[in-house]
Protein backbone atom coordinates (compact mmCIF):
# COMPACT_ATOMS: atom_id res chain seq x y z
CA UNK A 1 0.00 0.00 0.00
CA UNK A 2 1.37 3.35 -1.03
CA UNK A 3 0.82 6.69 0.68
CA UNK A 4 -2.05 9.14 1.04
CA UNK A 5 -2.71 11.76 -1.57
CA UNK A 6 -5.11 14.70 -1.27
CA UNK A 7 -6.54 16.45 -4.31
CA UNK A 8 -8.25 19.81 -3.81
CA UNK A 9 -10.59 21.25 -6.43
CA UNK A 10 -10.65 20.53 -10.13
CA UNK A 11 -13.43 18.60 -11.80
CA UNK A 12 -12.20 16.45 -14.66
CA UNK A 13 -8.56 16.91 -13.64
CA UNK A 14 -9.28 15.58 -10.15
CA UNK A 15 -11.29 12.69 -11.57
CA UNK A 16 -8.71 11.41 -14.02
CA UNK A 17 -5.81 12.05 -11.67
CA UNK A 18 -7.63 10.22 -8.87
CA UNK A 19 -8.31 7.26 -11.12
CA UNK A 20 -4.70 6.96 -12.18
CA UNK A 21 -3.41 7.35 -8.60
CA UNK A 22 -5.85 4.73 -7.29
CA UNK A 23 -4.69 2.37 -9.98
CA UNK A 24 -1.12 2.87 -8.78
CA UNK A 25 -2.15 1.93 -5.25
CA UNK A 26 -2.37 5.31 -3.51
CA UNK A 27 -5.13 6.17 -1.08
CA UNK A 28 -6.81 9.21 -2.55
CA UNK A 29 -8.98 11.85 -0.87
CA UNK A 30 -10.69 14.59 -2.86
CA UNK A 31 -12.03 17.92 -1.60
CA UNK A 32 -14.47 19.83 -3.78
CA UNK A 33 -16.59 22.93 -3.19
CA UNK A 34 -19.29 21.93 -5.64
CA UNK A 35 -21.86 19.37 -4.46
CA UNK A 36 -22.59 18.10 -7.97
CA UNK A 37 -18.90 17.59 -8.64
CA UNK A 38 -18.65 15.72 -5.34
CA UNK A 39 -21.47 13.39 -6.35
CA UNK A 40 -19.77 12.71 -9.68
CA UNK A 41 -16.47 11.99 -7.96
CA UNK A 42 -18.17 9.78 -5.35
CA UNK A 43 -19.28 7.39 -8.10
CA UNK A 44 -15.84 5.91 -7.68
CA UNK A 45 -16.20 3.81 -4.53
CA UNK A 46 -12.53 3.72 -3.63
CA UNK A 47 -12.35 7.49 -3.49
CA UNK A 48 -12.94 9.46 -0.26
CA UNK A 49 -14.83 12.61 -1.20
CA UNK A 50 -15.26 15.64 1.05
CA UNK A 51 -17.60 18.49 0.20
CA UNK A 52 -16.17 21.82 1.34
CA UNK A 53 -13.83 24.74 0.72
CA UNK A 54 -10.31 23.34 0.71
CA UNK A 55 -8.81 26.70 1.58
CA UNK A 56 -10.37 26.45 5.05
CA UNK A 57 -8.17 24.82 7.68
CA UNK A 58 -10.98 22.82 9.29
CA UNK A 59 -11.96 21.27 5.95
CA UNK A 60 -8.35 20.24 5.38
CA UNK A 61 -8.31 18.82 8.90
CA UNK A 62 -11.46 16.79 8.20
CA UNK A 63 -9.76 15.41 5.12
CA UNK A 64 -6.84 14.31 7.27
CA UNK A 65 -4.33 16.70 5.75
CA UNK A 66 -1.90 15.92 8.57
CA UNK A 67 -1.48 12.35 7.30
CA UNK A 68 -1.01 13.22 3.65
CA UNK A 69 2.22 12.64 1.83
CA UNK A 70 1.27 14.70 -1.20
CA UNK A 71 -1.29 17.47 -1.56
CA UNK A 72 -2.21 18.65 -5.04
CA UNK A 73 -4.09 21.94 -5.49
CA UNK A 74 -6.11 21.92 -8.70
CA UNK A 75 -8.57 24.83 -8.28
CA UNK A 76 -8.88 27.32 -11.13
CA UNK A 77 -7.87 30.23 -8.89
CA UNK A 78 -4.18 30.82 -8.23
CA UNK A 79 -4.78 32.46 -4.86
CA UNK A 80 -6.80 29.46 -3.63
CA UNK A 81 -4.08 27.06 -4.74
CA UNK A 82 -1.41 29.09 -2.97
CA UNK A 83 -3.39 29.17 0.28
CA UNK A 84 -4.09 25.43 0.11
CA UNK A 85 -0.41 24.64 -0.33
CA UNK A 86 0.70 27.08 2.37
CA UNK A 87 -1.83 25.79 4.89
CA UNK A 88 -0.80 22.21 4.18
CA UNK A 89 2.86 23.07 4.46
CA UNK A 90 2.74 25.31 7.53
CA UNK A 91 -0.20 24.00 9.52
CA UNK A 92 -0.27 20.32 8.57
CA UNK A 93 3.42 19.75 7.76
CA UNK A 94 2.68 17.96 4.49
CA UNK A 95 6.03 16.86 2.97
CA UNK A 96 5.12 17.60 -0.64
CA UNK A 97 2.75 20.17 -2.08
CA UNK A 98 2.00 20.69 -5.74
CA UNK A 99 0.03 23.54 -7.25
CA UNK A 100 -1.56 24.18 -10.57
CA UNK A 101 -1.00 27.75 -11.75
CA UNK A 102 -2.74 29.72 -14.46
CA UNK A 103 -0.58 32.82 -14.54
CA UNK A 104 2.93 31.78 -15.68
CA UNK A 105 4.42 35.02 -14.34
CA UNK A 106 3.86 33.83 -10.78
CA UNK A 107 5.82 30.56 -11.08
CA UNK A 108 8.91 31.82 -9.25
CA UNK A 109 6.80 33.53 -6.63
CA UNK A 110 4.98 30.28 -5.86
CA UNK A 111 8.29 28.45 -5.46
CA UNK A 112 9.52 31.22 -3.18
CA UNK A 113 6.46 30.86 -1.00
CA UNK A 114 7.38 27.23 -0.38
CA UNK A 115 5.23 25.30 -2.85
CA UNK A 116 7.32 22.25 -3.75
CA UNK A 117 6.19 21.88 -7.30
CA UNK A 118 4.40 24.33 -9.58
CA UNK A 119 2.72 23.18 -12.76
CA UNK A 120 1.74 25.93 -15.10
CA UNK A 121 -0.74 24.40 -17.50
CA UNK A 122 -0.76 27.35 -19.86
CA UNK A 123 3.00 27.50 -20.38
CA UNK A 124 3.20 23.70 -20.67
CA UNK A 125 0.51 23.66 -23.34
CA UNK A 126 1.92 26.62 -25.26
CA UNK A 127 5.40 25.13 -25.28
CA UNK A 128 4.09 21.82 -26.59
CA UNK A 129 2.12 23.59 -29.31
CA UNK A 130 5.14 25.68 -30.19
CA UNK A 131 7.30 22.58 -30.44
CA UNK A 132 4.79 20.74 -32.57
CA UNK A 133 4.25 23.70 -34.84
CA UNK A 134 7.73 25.07 -35.36
CA UNK A 135 10.28 22.45 -34.60
CA UNK A 136 10.91 19.81 -37.18
CA UNK A 137 11.38 16.24 -36.11
CA UNK A 138 15.01 16.94 -35.24
CA UNK A 139 14.46 16.69 -31.54
CA UNK A 140 11.76 17.13 -29.00
CA UNK A 141 12.70 18.74 -25.71
CA UNK A 142 10.89 18.75 -22.39
CA UNK A 143 12.24 21.11 -19.73
CA UNK A 144 12.40 19.80 -16.13
CA UNK A 145 13.43 21.56 -12.93
CA UNK A 146 12.63 25.09 -14.14
CA UNK A 147 14.46 24.34 -17.38
CA UNK A 148 17.78 23.43 -15.76
CA UNK A 149 17.50 19.94 -17.18
CA UNK A 150 16.18 18.99 -20.60
CA UNK A 151 14.72 15.65 -21.55
CA UNK A 152 15.27 15.17 -25.29
CA UNK A 153 13.99 12.76 -27.86
CA UNK A 154 16.52 12.44 -30.68
CA UNK A 155 15.80 10.24 -33.72
CA UNK A 156 18.89 8.78 -35.42
CA UNK A 157 19.01 8.40 -39.21
CA UNK A 158 21.49 6.45 -41.39
CA UNK A 159 23.57 9.50 -42.24
CA UNK A 160 24.07 10.62 -38.67
CA UNK A 161 27.56 10.20 -37.20
CA UNK A 162 26.15 8.33 -34.20
CA UNK A 163 24.59 5.58 -36.33
CA UNK A 164 26.40 2.20 -36.06
CA UNK A 165 28.53 3.50 -33.19
CA UNK A 166 28.79 2.04 -29.71
CA UNK A 167 27.75 4.35 -26.92
CA UNK A 168 31.30 4.69 -25.49
CA UNK A 169 32.58 5.90 -28.87
CA UNK A 170 30.43 9.00 -28.79
CA UNK A 171 32.00 12.00 -27.07
CA UNK A 172 28.98 13.38 -25.26
CA UNK A 173 29.43 16.28 -22.85
CA UNK A 174 29.72 15.23 -19.19
CA UNK A 175 26.35 16.70 -18.32
CA UNK A 176 24.53 14.58 -20.90
CA UNK A 177 23.60 10.91 -20.71
CA UNK A 178 21.64 8.62 -23.01
CA UNK A 179 18.94 7.43 -20.65
CA UNK A 180 17.14 5.11 -22.99
CA UNK A 181 17.00 3.85 -26.57
CA UNK A 182 13.67 3.30 -28.27
CA UNK A 183 14.13 0.68 -31.02
CA UNK A 184 10.88 -0.12 -32.82
CA UNK A 185 8.71 -1.45 -30.00
CA UNK A 186 11.63 -2.25 -27.71
CA UNK A 187 12.98 -0.10 -24.91
CA UNK A 188 16.69 -0.53 -24.20
CA UNK A 189 18.68 0.86 -21.33
CA UNK A 190 22.06 1.42 -22.99
CA UNK A 191 25.44 0.32 -21.68
CA UNK A 192 28.82 1.39 -23.01
CA UNK A 193 28.88 -1.40 -25.58
CA UNK A 194 25.33 -0.91 -26.87
CA UNK A 195 25.40 -0.16 -30.59
CA UNK A 196 23.19 2.66 -31.86
CA UNK A 197 21.32 1.82 -35.06
CA UNK A 198 19.64 3.94 -37.69
CA UNK A 199 15.99 4.31 -36.80
CA UNK A 200 16.64 4.38 -33.07
CA UNK A 201 15.22 7.15 -30.97
CA UNK A 202 17.54 8.22 -28.17
CA UNK A 203 16.19 9.72 -24.97
CA UNK A 204 18.77 12.14 -23.58
CA UNK A 205 18.94 13.80 -20.21
CA UNK A 206 20.92 17.00 -20.54
CA UNK A 207 21.90 19.55 -17.91
CA UNK A 208 23.58 22.92 -18.05
CA UNK A 209 22.38 23.73 -21.57
CA UNK A 210 24.66 21.07 -23.04
CA UNK A 211 21.89 19.63 -25.22
CA UNK A 212 22.90 21.50 -28.35
CA UNK A 213 26.49 20.20 -28.19
CA UNK A 214 25.16 16.68 -27.60
CA UNK A 215 22.87 16.85 -30.60
CA UNK A 216 25.68 18.17 -32.80
CA UNK A 217 27.79 15.22 -31.66
CA UNK A 218 25.03 12.71 -32.41
CA UNK A 219 23.62 14.14 -35.61
CA UNK A 220 26.59 16.15 -36.91
CA UNK A 221 26.54 19.15 -39.19
CA UNK A 222 25.99 22.75 -38.35
CA UNK A 223 23.54 23.76 -35.69
CA UNK A 224 20.40 22.83 -37.56
CA UNK A 225 18.69 22.34 -34.28
CA UNK A 226 17.56 25.35 -32.37
CA UNK A 227 15.79 25.61 -29.07
Amino acid sequence: MKGNVLLVGGRSKAKSLAQSLLKKGYRVTVINKDLLDCEKLAENEKLTVIHGDGTKPYVLEDAGAGNMEIVIALTPRDEDNLVICELCKKKFRVPKTLSLLSDPQKTDFFYKMGVDSVVCAISAVTSIIEQQAFMEEMAKAIPIGEGRVQLLEVPITETDPAAQKQVWEIALPKEVIIGCILRRDQTLIPRGDTRILAGDILVLIAGNEQEEIAILELKGGEAKWRK
Binding site: Y58, R77, D78, E79, V83, E86, K91, D103, K112
Partner: protein, 150 residues
Protein backbone atom coordinates in the same frame (compact mmCIF):
# COMPACT_ATOMS: atom_id res chain seq x y z
CA UNK B 1 2.76 59.33 -11.42
CA UNK B 2 5.28 62.06 -12.17
CA UNK B 3 4.98 63.50 -8.67
CA UNK B 4 6.41 60.29 -7.30
CA UNK B 5 9.25 59.82 -9.70
CA UNK B 6 11.90 61.93 -7.96
CA UNK B 7 12.02 59.99 -4.74
CA UNK B 8 13.46 56.52 -4.69
CA UNK B 9 10.98 55.26 -2.16
CA UNK B 10 7.86 57.24 -2.78
CA UNK B 11 5.80 58.01 0.26
CA UNK B 12 2.56 56.48 -0.83
CA UNK B 13 0.08 53.80 0.02
CA UNK B 14 -1.56 51.31 -2.30
CA UNK B 15 -4.99 50.05 -1.35
CA UNK B 16 -6.22 46.97 -3.20
CA UNK B 17 -9.99 46.61 -3.28
CA UNK B 18 -12.34 49.58 -3.36
CA UNK B 19 -15.12 48.20 -1.21
CA UNK B 20 -16.58 49.95 1.81
CA UNK B 21 -13.42 49.52 3.87
CA UNK B 22 -11.03 50.30 1.01
CA UNK B 23 -12.90 53.40 -0.13
CA UNK B 24 -13.33 54.67 3.42
CA UNK B 25 -9.66 54.23 4.15
CA UNK B 26 -8.67 55.90 0.87
CA UNK B 27 -10.88 58.89 1.62
CA UNK B 28 -9.46 59.26 5.13
CA UNK B 29 -5.83 58.97 4.04
CA UNK B 30 -6.40 61.37 1.18
CA UNK B 31 -7.98 63.90 3.54
CA UNK B 32 -4.96 63.63 5.80
CA UNK B 33 -2.84 64.62 2.84
CA UNK B 34 -1.27 61.22 2.10
CA UNK B 35 -0.56 59.98 -1.41
CA UNK B 36 -2.96 57.15 -2.10
CA UNK B 37 -3.41 54.81 -5.04
CA UNK B 38 -6.48 52.62 -5.02
CA UNK B 39 -6.89 49.55 -7.19
CA UNK B 40 -10.04 47.65 -8.12
CA UNK B 41 -11.16 45.21 -10.79
CA UNK B 42 -14.28 47.20 -11.49
CA UNK B 43 -14.45 50.82 -12.47
CA UNK B 44 -17.88 51.16 -10.83
CA UNK B 45 -16.31 50.56 -7.42
CA UNK B 46 -14.54 53.92 -7.55
CA UNK B 47 -17.90 55.66 -7.20
CA UNK B 48 -17.65 54.95 -3.49
CA UNK B 49 -14.75 57.41 -3.24
CA UNK B 50 -15.64 60.90 -2.05
CA UNK B 51 -15.62 63.71 -4.65
CA UNK B 52 -12.69 65.32 -2.87
CA UNK B 53 -10.53 62.16 -3.12
CA UNK B 54 -7.17 63.40 -4.36
CA UNK B 55 -5.41 60.09 -5.03
CA UNK B 56 -4.97 57.89 -8.07
CA UNK B 57 -7.28 55.12 -9.20
CA UNK B 58 -6.16 52.12 -11.24
CA UNK B 59 -8.58 49.67 -12.76
CA UNK B 60 -7.25 46.13 -12.84
CA UNK B 61 -6.78 42.78 -11.09
CA UNK B 62 -4.62 43.25 -7.99
CA UNK B 63 -3.16 39.76 -8.34
CA UNK B 64 -1.83 40.51 -11.82
CA UNK B 65 1.87 41.35 -11.78
CA UNK B 66 1.50 43.74 -14.70
CA UNK B 67 -1.18 45.71 -12.89
CA UNK B 68 0.92 45.87 -9.74
CA UNK B 69 3.86 47.11 -11.77
CA UNK B 70 1.65 49.76 -13.31
CA UNK B 71 0.76 50.83 -9.78
CA UNK B 72 4.52 51.11 -9.08
CA UNK B 73 4.24 48.72 -6.15
CA UNK B 74 7.99 48.37 -5.61
CA UNK B 75 8.15 52.03 -4.62
CA UNK B 76 5.15 52.11 -2.35
CA UNK B 77 5.85 52.15 1.37
CA UNK B 78 2.61 50.48 2.33
CA UNK B 79 0.20 48.04 0.73
CA UNK B 80 -3.22 47.33 2.18
CA UNK B 81 -5.10 44.32 0.83
CA UNK B 82 -8.82 44.67 1.51
CA UNK B 83 -10.60 42.81 -1.30
CA UNK B 84 -13.65 40.74 -0.36
CA UNK B 85 -11.75 37.47 -0.72
CA UNK B 86 -9.36 36.22 1.96
CA UNK B 87 -7.22 34.20 -0.39
CA UNK B 88 -6.84 37.09 -2.80
CA UNK B 89 -5.73 39.25 0.13
CA UNK B 90 -3.23 36.61 1.18
CA UNK B 91 -1.77 36.40 -2.31
CA UNK B 92 -1.53 40.19 -2.70
CA UNK B 93 -0.02 40.65 0.76
CA UNK B 94 2.61 37.98 0.11
CA UNK B 95 3.43 39.37 -3.31
CA UNK B 96 3.88 42.82 -1.77
CA UNK B 97 6.00 41.58 1.12
CA UNK B 98 8.10 38.85 -0.44
CA UNK B 99 8.26 39.76 -4.11
CA UNK B 100 8.30 43.56 -4.03
CA UNK B 101 9.75 44.03 -0.51
CA UNK B 102 7.16 46.57 0.54
CA UNK B 103 7.89 47.71 4.11
CA UNK B 104 4.41 47.80 5.56
CA UNK B 105 1.78 45.29 4.52
CA UNK B 106 -1.65 45.09 6.12
CA UNK B 107 -4.40 42.74 5.13
CA UNK B 108 -7.97 42.07 6.08
CA UNK B 109 -8.86 38.46 6.85
CA UNK B 110 -12.44 37.34 7.45
CA UNK B 111 -11.44 33.89 8.65
CA UNK B 112 -9.04 34.12 11.60
CA UNK B 113 -8.05 30.46 11.20
CA UNK B 114 -5.92 31.23 8.17
CA UNK B 115 -3.71 33.59 10.14
CA UNK B 116 -0.93 31.07 10.53
CA UNK B 117 -0.03 31.64 6.91
CA UNK B 118 0.70 35.28 7.63
CA UNK B 119 2.31 35.16 11.01
CA UNK B 120 5.75 34.06 9.88
CA UNK B 121 5.85 36.61 7.10
CA UNK B 122 5.44 39.83 9.06
CA UNK B 123 2.12 40.74 7.50
CA UNK B 124 -0.32 42.53 9.81
CA UNK B 125 -3.84 41.22 9.76
CA UNK B 126 -7.13 42.81 10.67
CA UNK B 127 -9.89 40.37 11.42
CA UNK B 128 -13.36 41.98 11.60
CA UNK B 129 -14.92 39.04 13.45
CA UNK B 130 -12.29 39.10 16.20
CA UNK B 131 -12.45 42.91 16.51
CA UNK B 132 -16.24 42.85 16.71
CA UNK B 133 -16.20 40.08 19.29
CA UNK B 134 -13.77 42.07 21.45
CA UNK B 135 -15.92 45.19 21.21
CA UNK B 136 -19.09 43.30 22.08
CA UNK B 137 -17.28 41.68 24.96
CA UNK B 138 -16.30 45.14 26.23
CA UNK B 139 -19.86 46.39 25.92
CA UNK B 140 -21.12 43.39 27.84
CA UNK B 141 -18.63 43.98 30.61
CA UNK B 142 -19.53 47.66 31.01
CA UNK B 143 -23.04 47.46 32.52
CA UNK B 144 -21.85 44.72 34.82
CA UNK B 145 -19.18 47.04 36.15
CA UNK B 146 -21.58 49.93 36.65
CA UNK B 147 -23.83 47.62 38.58
CA UNK B 148 -20.98 46.69 40.82
CA UNK B 149 -20.21 50.37 41.29
CA UNK B 150 -23.78 51.01 42.26
Amino acid sequence: MSILKNKKQADYTIIVGCGRLGANLANTLSEEGENVLILDKEKEAFRKLSPSFGGLTVEGDGTDLDVLKKADISRANAVIAVTNNDNTNILIAQLAKEWYSVGRVISRLYDPERECVYRELGIDTICPAVLSANEIDKLLEKPARTKEAV
